[in-house]
Amino acid sequence: MAINYIYPDYEIARNQDRCINCRVCERQCSNGAHEYIEDLNKMVSYDEKCVNCHRCVALCPTRALKIVKSGHTFKENANWPGKIINEIYKQAESGGVLLSSMGNPESFPVYFDKMLINASQVTNPSIDPLREPMETKVFLGPKPQKIERDEKGRIKKVLPPFLTLSMPVMFSAMSYGSISYNAHESLARAAEEVGIYYNTGEGGLHEDFYKYGKNTIVQVASGRFGVHPDYLAAAAAIEIKMGQGAKPGIGGHLPGTKVGPDVSRTRMIPEGSDAISPAPHHDIYSIEDLRQLVYSLKEATNYQKPVIVKIAAVHNVAAIASGIARSGADIIAIDGFRGGTGAAPTRIRDNVGIPIELALACVDKRLRDEGIRDNVSIVVGGGIRSSADVVKAIALGADCVYVATAALMALGCHLCRSCHTGKCNWGIATQVPELAKRLNPNIGYKRLVNLMNAWKHEIEEMMGGMGINSIETLKGNRLMLRGVGLNEKELEILGIKHAGE
């Protein structure tokens, strides 16, 4: 190309006074953004290759590097921001669909940030979690509908299959293939240690990780990759993936370059072949078909395991969830439009779906209105960033949340949103062995455990402040929330009052 239309968004700023030419930046950049020039005895940078992942910044021993926003700008135009102009240039050049990774970065409202949590004052004592028991244990699954007694009048303690969690957070689906072996190992080991669950995603379960089965949710998606009887048997629960918040209505595509020997064996597809998940399940064209798959999976596992149905938060999510709740599903997972992805068409990611807060509020309300809320648990993901978001989601009516982006950040992810290139410098979203080894699971799992423990402490503090010492009484306790800066309609949908009311 003789003409380069695009000037880099970010520049690598090197403090030459501090640079000692150790070349760690050069060795660590899979994009080739740094180079040592022998003649000059100097490091130079190539801004156009930089994805702003901060690997070099984090490893530079002298803090000689930082990444800054380039000052370059187009003539200001409220209708044509630079991002859109650049996208036009890219498409004019490539003729292709724009690809992006991770969650929707656009400036849509974040409702979690417009809700505030209550605390006790005077009439009701707050509870100190350091001095009193504070319970965050959660069960996921349907509640028994009938109380039956034996001939001696004792209650028959028969419970439908359920999951037990030490805290209401799980690691959501990320497939082996989209993320590395080491990332999966970190998630599995952390889930085991914390007493929660991680999710295999649609890429099957690596044979090494069967031992973490009791903390594993296995996914059955439209591509059916890696699904076989042992896979189902190994898991604590099975998730049918109908949709994903980052790309509702479309399937997945793992490029053949990521399908090495291990991924190939785990997914049960030929090495080097593209793994393409169809947009719909081709055996599910309606709700009654979903019921058949739910019961097929239950049959296959002897009715021993709860079945989760995961959907993207779309416009009529409440009606869809209501249908799912009547179709044998034990748990409904709803993924909001902020949810992450290893690769999605940019236009889909940034323009399809609805916020998880609103989806959760309306699904919880609909299921209660129809008297079927006890039939299912609700798990929400796609936009949970902190323990405060967890507390707010539970108060809105969720049983539990799914986190993935936050978990990846604990593993080193800097949200450079370049997963689709397969060259993740942090060893997470890559199958290149030299890159994947950068994530040492011995370190990674501990960081995940730390994150979960930290959140648990914070959740306990917030619960104690509200005078709540058991998380089940926070569930759906919407009086514990107040809105700020929300209009009547938003408050109505969220089912909360405005601050001051």
Binding site: T473, G476, L479, M480
Partner: protein, 362 residues
């Protein structure tokens, strides 16, 4: 402002007296007891529940109703006429005293469901009555049924409880069980319906506390068809008890393990059989767990249950003398009516005191 338009938090005094042999005693005793705890109320609500007080009408539901005006009374009586046989109706006898003012119209009806209506509804009799009560309270403007059990009645008003007792001439009633409530709300309600006890059928609840689980409990109960119109803890607790006892068939001991469930660490330390039962109850009735401070006295046909929250964040003392059992927020409220007690104790958080009539009594 009325209860139901806002959430009214309150601190309170409670007291309960129960005769295990079913010996009936005068309502004056419970007035004497609750009067000792005058300081725990602020004159914004007081009330009583008496059991065994209508032996001559014991087979009929006794509806106590507040009316704002005679139009509401007419609407309500039309409804009652079309759904029930009204065996007897009268104004509830009261005594004019300066401490109690702004009284609504207060009427009492002894009723029995119309057999045809009941058969048409395909409901069991008690469910039919519950639905009718909820219907009146939510649909008929200005009418409020505040007592609907058999051989029992609730008497409540805005005022100090001892004045409310005198107003309702409680000394003229005799029963085997009385409970009482003195209210200390943080807001100023002007409506008698908001006072305690709250009751449905023969279940009545007096409550001192403020549950932090309120909205979780309310939303769960509304899913089962209850309408929490008053937005008070007592209302939702009564509905939970009705649901667990009448609909789900739990015993009061089991109900206490739902309302004030033991901590998981405690449950894990129990022998297998007990552990499994506690786990089952906590798991199944997670939405009926109450957190935050409370002490409640639940009256029901033939029994009484007193229960503290799991951390015992509110005071509650129990005492025993012969066949009499006493429970109150303060020991003084027991001593004033029975100086010489066989046993006095402070029940632990979550440990229910449940007393029932001896076999064959009443």
């Amino acid at each position: 402002m009325r209860e139901g338009t806002f959430r009214n938090l309150s601190g309170c005094a409670i007291s309960g007296i129960f005769s295990k042999s079913g010996k009936r005693f005068s309502g004056q005793k419970i007035i004497d007891s609750i009067a000792v705890m005058h300081e725990r109320s602020n004159g914004l609500g007081g009330g009583f529940a008496g059991y065994g007080i209508y032996p001559e009408y014991k087979d009929y539901y006794a509806f106590h109703v507040f009316y704002d005006d005679s139009a509401a009374k007419k609407d309500c009586e039309d409804f009652l006429d079309s759904h029930f046989d009204i065996i007897n109706l009268s104004k509830i006898p009261t005594r004019k005293i300066p401490e109690i003012t702004d009284e609504p119209l207060i009427w009492r009806y002894f009723v029995s469901p119309l057999p045809t209506k009941l058969a048409d509804s395909q409901l069991d009799e008690r469910e039919f009555v519950v639905r009718c009560v909820i219907r009146i309270n939510t649909v008929i403007d200005g009418a409020y049924v505040f007592s609907s059990g058999k051989n029992m009645g609730v008497f409540k008003a805005v005022g100090f409880p001892e004045d409310v007792g005198r107003f309702y001439r409680l000394d003229e009633y005799e029963g085997y069980c009385f409970t009482a409530h003195g209210r200390y709300p943080t807001n100023t309600p002007g409506w008698w319906g908001g006072a305690h006890p709250f009751s449905l059928l023969d279940y009545s609840v007096v409550h001192n506390g403020e549950i932090s689980s309120y909205d979780a409990n309310r939303r769960a109960m509304e899913m089962y068809g209850y309408k929490c119109t008053l937005l008070t803890d007592t209302e939702v607790i009564t509905y939970i008890i009705d649901y667990l006892h009448r609909t789900k068939g739990l015993t009061f001991k089991e109900i206490s393990h739902v309302l004030a469930a033991p901590f998981w660490t405690t449950i894990e330390s129990k022998p297998r059989e007990e552990r499994e039962e506690l786990e089952f109850l906590r798991h199944t009735f997670a939405s009926q767990l109450l957190t935050g401070p409370f002490s409640i006295i639940v009256g029901f046909e033939g029994g009484m249950m007193a229960l503290n929250d799991r951390l015992k964040l509110r005071s509650m003392v129990a005492g025993e003398k012969d066949d009499m059992v006493y429970v109150a927020s303060e020991e003084a409220a027991i001593r004033i009516i029975q100086e010489d007690l066989d046993r006095v104790w402070s029940p632990k958080g979550g440990e229910a005191v449940i007393v029932t009539l001896k076999e064959g009594q009443i």
